[in-house]
């Protein structure tokens, strides 16, 4: 009985650590998506510019507003970072065929109803026209 009690605490600690192989999970949505007459050709995520500012030296058209949230799996995992959210924004923008995500803004990491630590980011996916 004593042995069982002694084991309980380490086991409780180990379970989240074992599951921490999947340290984060994410979700995203696109609002105000603009219809594209020629269909969507996905872009490579590595080609997509992510900027907290507007782009003024090139013309562009808006494709949609992306919201991405990265959540950590357990309380013991590291908090999600802005880079992780930016990568998720890139992924979604790539599906829309975007060249950049502009006006990106981030929330602050916090406990939410779905996660022990979540970070939200929003940005506008745009395609350069010239």
């Amino acid at each position: 009985m004593i042995k069982t009690k002694n084991l309980l605490f380490p086991v409780l600690i180990m379970i989240p650590i074992l599951f921490s192989g999947c340290a984060t999970w994410s979700s995203s949505q696109v609002d105000n998506a603009q219809p594209t007459p020629t269909g969507v050709t996905p872009t490579h995520t590595s080609d997509i510019i992510v900027s907290e500012n507007d782009i003024t030296d090139r013309k562009y058209k808006s494709l949609g507003d992306i919201t991405a949230t990265v959540n950590k799996t357990t309380i013991f995992n590291a908090d999600p970072t802005r880079d992780m959210v930016a990568d998720k924004l890139r992924e979604e923008a790539a599906k829309l065929g975007a060249d950049a995500v502009i006006l990106v803004r981030y929330g602050n990491v916090g406990i939410s109803f779905m996660s022990w630590g979540s970070l939200e980011g929003k940005g506008r996916a745009v395609k350069f026209t010239k």
Partner: protein
């Protein structure tokens, strides 16, 4: 409410002004703001000051976040009522949102006026 401690969603995106020239991408309230009357030099200095303040407020929020995280673990493993001492940092979040909103407005005005940074 408790589980929502310190969570702060990203601010909403501004309206789409992509059809306008960069110098025209201003919101109606930007033209009415006190900042619109400022010179380029002052605007750029304001932007720097806001960035410094924003970094300090973000640091403060991160500290609250770290404290809450420790309390979450302690509450989970030792004493649940410790969760009641978590700091929601509502005032700090409000200050941060105001700073970021002002920063964005000044950035739009700087862009519209063609100020060089």
């Amino acid at each position: 409410m408790l589980l929502n401690a310190c969570a702060n969603p990203a601010r909403d995106l501004p309206p789409d002004l992509s059809t306008l020239a960069p110098s025209q991408r201003l919101l109606p309230e930007d033209r009415q703001s006190a900042e619109f009357q400022l010179s380029c030099d002052t605007l750029v200095k304001e932007l720097d000051a806001i960035s410094t303040k924003t970094a300090a407020v973000q640091g403060s929020l991160q500290q609250a976040r770290n404290d809450n995280q420790s309390k979450s673990v302690a509450g989970l493993l030792i004493l649940t009522p410790i969760w009641l001492t978590m700091d929601n940092a509502e005032e700090t979040k409000k200050t941060l949102a105001e700073l970021e909103t002002r920063k964005e407005r000044i950035q739009r005005i700087v862009q519209a006026k063609g100020c060089e940074r």
